[in-house]
């Protein structure tokens, strides 16, 4: 008996410890700084709908890609986009939350930018691909001068040049250099193996002609090819200012995308909306918990009080798990958690009803507690299994919104199952019922019965 009681006391203390940790590690809730300091390492991770930010979904055009290359291309695409997001200083006002770039499903990339509220700037920066092209000047192209009806003479620049197929796609890296004599900035580029071979072939076949270098559709320089160049090195010297050259090098290095992408979904949530959602979520969780606690105490009396204690420990544990794992909280996730509070009671109610029945069947209270637990276990197991199945399938369903709900709900169900069969049981066992006095019987009855 005493062993059980000491274990119960220990669990109570641990429960309080966990609750203290959850409370103290949220500076926004308690107003102070986290104490001790390492608590600060475990804040709640808020999803974009709560912290404010931008959620973008890009769809990759995989029409040109063989089926077996899809995975590779998507992961290359993901890492290039991640580089762009993290290097082009699209940073939110919070700076705490990390940007997230993920492959979703077969052909989608999702980008989460916490704290970024101006989606158009972010989209522009992410979508900014420098298009570097090398073209040969077609010297006898005179026919492309068009005289319009109004006498205007237009020259179609593009048709003057001939595509070579060599583009920024074959770029290995770009380096900023300064000319030793003129101290003009120049950009050295190094092609990859494939690009080097192509570059050598082009320079060999077109010796003596002009090779125009196009950046974003404009000619930035057009040197004359003197000889075939092997090794894949080239230099671009234009009339750059040092800053322009530096930006360009950075953009070139961030790279071109392996496949074209298009933006299919944008979602931006202002910080005020998110803050309100957090407050409302917190408020409804507290009120829900309170109402359930009152109901349990009034209906189930002594076991009800025990259930409330177990429920509070349950809440503390789940919240701590949210912080430790960590699980990104969204409005839907909070809803999942709140529902799991209601669900956590389920197992307790099953047990209490069973205990009451056993008492009715003539068992002593002490005996009824033990048999009640073991008999209720099968129902508890079977009924919770279906909820766990649902949450697993919901998780597989995909989108981040649903995942948030599924994780919170599933975790809640599992932890509630454990807390009901361990914590509630332990506490009930600690009550030593030697004599079935009238008062004791009253404490273990429920509802409107005397």
């Amino acid at each position: 008996m005493w062993k059980t009681r000491i274990t119960a006391l220990l669990i109570l203390i641990i429960g309080f410890g966990v609750a203290y940790f959850v409370y103290k590690s949220e500076p926004k809730v308690n107003g102070g700084t986290p104490n001790p300091a390492w608590f600060a390492k475990f804040p709640f991770k808020l999803g974009l709908d709560l912290s404010g930010g931008t959620h973008l979904v890009y769809k990759a055009d995989l029409a040109q890609i063989g089926e077996k290359d899809v995975k590779d291309q998507m992961s290359t695409l993901r890492s290039i986009l991640e580089k762009r997001v993290n290097k082009s200083d699209i940073s939110g006002s919070f700076g705490v939350a990390e940007n997230l770039v993920q492959v979703q499903g077969n052909n989608q990339i999702i980008i989460d930018l916490p704290g970024v509220t101006d989606s158009s700037v972010a989209i522009k920066k992410i979508g900014q691909t420098p298009i570097l092209e090398f073209r040969i000047l077609n010297e006898d192209a005179t026919k492309d001068v068009v005289v319009g009806k109004d006498g205007k003479v237009t020259l179609d620049i593009n048709s003057l040049y001939q595509d070579t197929g060599l583009t920024g796609r074959y770029l290995d890296k770009a380096i900023l250099e300064f000319d030793q004599q003129t101290s003009q900035p120049t950009i050295s580029i190094q092609f990859n193996d494939e690009g080097s071979a192509l570059f050598e072939k082009i320079t060999k076949e077109n010796t003596g002609k002009q090779l125009a270098i196009f950046l974003d559709g404009e000619v930035i320089s057009s040197p004359v090819i003197r000889e075939a160049i092997s090794g894949g090195k080239a230099q671009i010297s234009g009339r750059f200012t040092p800053k322009e050259a530096k930006d360009l090098v950075q953009r070139l290095n961030l790279g071109a995308l392996p496949v074209p992408i298009s933006l299919v979904s944008t979602q931006t949530i202002g910080p005020s909306l998110g803050e309100k959602a957090v407050q409302d979520g917190l408020k409804s969780a507290l009120i829900g918990l309170l109402v359930v606690a009152l109901f349990l105490i009034f209906w189930y009396r002594l076991p009800g009080i025990i259930a409330v204690v177990a429920l509070s420990i349950y809440v503390a544990i789940v919240l701590a798990l949210f912080k430790f794992i960590p699980i990104t909280l969204t409005a839907a996730g909070i809803a999942g958690f709140i529902i799991s509070i209601g669900m956590a009671v389920d197992a307790n109610v099953l047990i209490f009803e069973r205990i009451k029945e056993e008492i009715k069947n003539g068992r002593t209270i002490g005996d009824a507690i033990h048999t009640g637990f073991s008999r209720a276990w099968f129902s508890i197991r079977d009924s919770n299994t279906s909820s766990i199945i649902t949450s697993v399938i919901l998780f597989g369903f995909g989108t981040s919104l649903i995942k948030g709900f599924a994780v919170a709900f599933g975790l809640g169900v599992v932890v509630s199952l454990l807390s009901a069969i361990t914590i509630s049981r332990l506490f009930l066992y600690t009550i030593n019922v030697n004599k079935d006095t009238k008062f004791m019987k009253f404490l273990f009855s429920s509802g409107f019965s005397k």
Binding site: V57, T268, D346, S386, I393, F397, F405
Partner: protein, 301 residues
């Protein structure tokens, strides 16, 4: 047990409610949100003064976005719905909303979803519902595999499935009314709510079935109908109490929770209410009816 005695009445009520829901959905239809059909949703908050709905509609005419819905929300806010927008269209829309800086505004939220995303989501949603139902059918058939008399275990599963269809049909019917009169939209969260109702409601049904299983094993009564009746009265309080606690927290979520999960909480509350109803007043009566059919068949032979 009165529920078994009047089982035909309760089964008829359920059939009536499901038929009504189907009727409501077919008359009013369901309004799908932008995550299913694509489109854009913009919430803007004006800090000082704000233009009228008509002003906004006429100034946005130049963008040729087709049909635009502009709804006031509170005294300083508008919620706009359009087709899905490109980044450029979004920027110029914001400019027009502020009439080039005349009105000060902040964009509280902006969502634009292409139609292809919606098609994918619809498919996923349908698959998820089918998967959940199949998984539940298999699970029940497995869990009750030891009780094959007098009703075989897969029939327990099938009956649970029928009650599940009942449980999701009714909230869907309700949503048809809400959509028609209050503009409630079927979105991803609605699907999540339905799936959660499936999980919660079946767990109620399982507890009742579980008790029937135990009572059959203990030979509580030789009559199947009586066994079911006894099991029902034994689990009755429990079924109501556990659903009540979940409904209590859901109501708290509905009244005090974030705006974005209000409809979600409502669908869950209604679904759970009818889920509990069906596990008591529909699943067990159906079980008895099935058993009676079986006996009739075998006596005829």
């Amino acid at each position: 047990m009165f529920i078994i005695k009047y089982k035909k009445i309760f089964i008829s009520i359920s059939i009536g409610l499901v038929l009504l829901s189907i009727l409501l959905v077919s008359v009013f239809g369901l309004k799908f949100g932008i995550d299913f059909k694509g489109g854009a949703l913009i919430e803007v908050n004006y800090s000082d003064s704000l233009p009228s709905v008509l002003d906004i509609k006429s100034s946005l005419g130049s963008l040729s976005l087709g049909e635009i819905s502009v709804q006031p929300s509170g005294t300083t806010e508008y919620i706009l719905k359009t087709r899905d927008l490109t980044t450029e269209e979004h920027t110029s829309l914001l400019n027009l909303l502020s009439e080039n800086g005349k009105y000060k505004l902040t964009e509280k939220s902006f969502t634009s979803i292409g139609p292809s995303v919606g098609d994918e989501l619809t498919q996923k949603a349908i698959w998820a519902i089918i998967f959940v139902m199949l998984a539940i059918l298999l699970f029940i058939a497995y869990a009750f595999s030891k009780v094959s008399k007098p009703v075989s275990s897969w029939k327990y599963g099938l009956i649970a499935l029928v009650t599940l269809l009942h449980d999701i049909a009714i909230p869907t019917g309700l949503f048809a009314i809400l959509g028609h009169y209050m503009g409630a939209e079927v979105d991803t969260l609605f699907v999540v709510a339905l799936l959660t109702v499936l999980g919660l409601s079946v767990s109620d049904t399982i507890v009742v079935f579980d008790r029937i299983r135990e009572n059959i094993r203990n030979h509580t009564s030789n009559d199947f109908e009586k066994t079911v009746g006894i099991s029902l009265s034994q689990t009755f309080t429990r079924s109501i109490n556990t659903s009540l606690t979940v409904i209590l927290v859901l109501l708290s979520l509905y009244f005090f929770g974030p705006a974005s999960t209000k409809n979600f909480a409502l669908v869950l509350t209604v679904g759970l209410f009818f889920g509990t109803y069906s596990s008591i007043f529909l699943a067990s009566p159906l079980l008895v009816v099935t058993e009676q059919w079986q006996t009739k068949k075998s006596t005829k032979k």
